[in-house]
């Protein structure tokens, strides 16, 4: 085994960081081509450390690291492009994206397309793009990329294209089934919504509201009962 494997010049983001010792941090980094990694940033907690200010969440970085174990050693991290520019509410939404990735993305499992979708979502948040549609698009990419087989545009049983005028019941792990009498109406979703979500064009208020409920149900299933802290904090903030 190559215990001293070296990688450099990787596009990356910091998802979260926590103190490791008096002077070091453990960084949960998400790299485009190597997936999510735990990296020790030695000396990053020292007062004059240049690293400390650079290892900020939401900031596009270029990283290098070495080591072959579960926790690798960060060799460098440099800012790439302009400052992330997330402010206020956008920061809270950003934390929600990071928490989804931390909880659902396995370590060392690269997903370059999802990485690009994340970069795009952050750019949207910085540009104050309405967050609801942006969130649904990211959640959809996340579930699709992680291989949860999200079928949105075909009926699960017949394989026929989803009818925008019909009402469906979305069965997790299977897909949309046409509603029949006696189905739980609370989980109903319009064909239009499914097609809008598939296309990523969420302008219709009903499509937005229904896709929010659908994504929430799907995410809760794949999170397997883990509560999202960032969502709870966000809700608490709305109460004040």
């Amino acid at each position: 085994m190559s215990g001293r494997k070296r990688v450099d010049g990787q596009r990356a983001y910091v998802l979260h960081a926590h103190p490791y010792s008096e002077s070091s941090l453990v960084v949960e980094a998400w790299t485009r081509d190597h997936g999510r990694l735990a990296l020790v940033a030695k000396g990053a907690r020292r007062p004059m450390s240049a690293l400390r200010g650079r290892l900020m969440a939401f900031q596009a970085l270029e990283m290098g690291w070495f080591g072959g174990g579960e926790v690798k050693t960060l060799a460098r991290a440099d800012w790439q492009g302009t400052p992330a520019g997330l402010r206020g509410r956008g920061l809270l939404v950003g934390y929600y994206l990071n928490e989804l990735l931390l909880k659902l993305l396995p370590r060392e499992d690269p997903h370059p397309r999802l990485f690009d979708a994340y970069a795009e979502a952050l750019a949207g948040l910085a540009a104050l793009v309405p967050e609801a549609a942006l969130l649904r698009r990211f959640e959809k990419s996340l579930l699709q990329e992680l291989g949860y087989g999200l079928t949105l545009d075909r009926e699960a049983d017949t394989g026929r294209p989803v009818d925008p005028a019909a009402t469906y019941l979305y069965v997790i792990e299977r897909g949309p089934l046409r509603m029949v009498e006696g189905d739980e109406a609370g989980d109903a979703v319009a064909g239009r919504t499914l097609l809008d979500l598939a296309a990523g064009t969420l302008e219709d208020p009903r499509s937005l509201a229904e896709s929010r409920a659908l994504m929430r149900r799907l995410l809760a299933h794949y999170l397997g009962g883990q509560a999202l802290q960032s969502r709870r904090v966000f809700m608490d903030l709305q109460e004040f």
């Binding site: 939401f58 302009t82 206020g88 950003g94 802290q229 903030l237």
Partner: protein, 198 residues
Amino acid sequence: MSHPTSLDELIEALRCLPGVGPKSAQRMAYHLLQRDPRGAERLSRAVGHALATLRRCSRCNTFTEEEVCERCASPKRDPSLLCVVEMPIDLNAMEQTHAYGGLYYVLMGRLSPLDGIGPKELDFDRLLARVGDGAVKEVIIATNFTNEGEATAHYLSELFHARGLKVSRIARGIPAGGELEYSDAGTVAQALIERRDY
């Protein structure tokens, strides 16, 4: 290897300190018992005494032995200015400037959504009661320029504005005596974004 119960308890207790794992806790315990029993005695008394006598100042939220700490009770301080900082160490940094004559409120943390630290954990209610005392006219938000500090500043400013208070945020940029050449790219970028008329 198993230890006597009281030794185990000491090791376990030391692990509540930040950054102290089982190995260091064991090392500390042996050090205290073997090499420095007098130091251990003193530590134990100091912890007990601090717990028994210290409480949160009802005005600024820092630790004090009184109901209201000396700084908050001082008539030399301007009660119309309130500066909100994250930690006591930040308050000390502000005091070292000798440039501020108002009062403080110490949050004892910052919003940290991924760690589940929100407005309830930080007791925003207590802070809102403090700024609503009738004397405070302007709140200066001096949380750190990290993402967490910025998120905290944003939500606090909304709450303060809603209560009709004047709100300001400390500025950031190139350090005093600093040269662009030696400044971090992020610092220079922020200084440029937040440039002002001159």
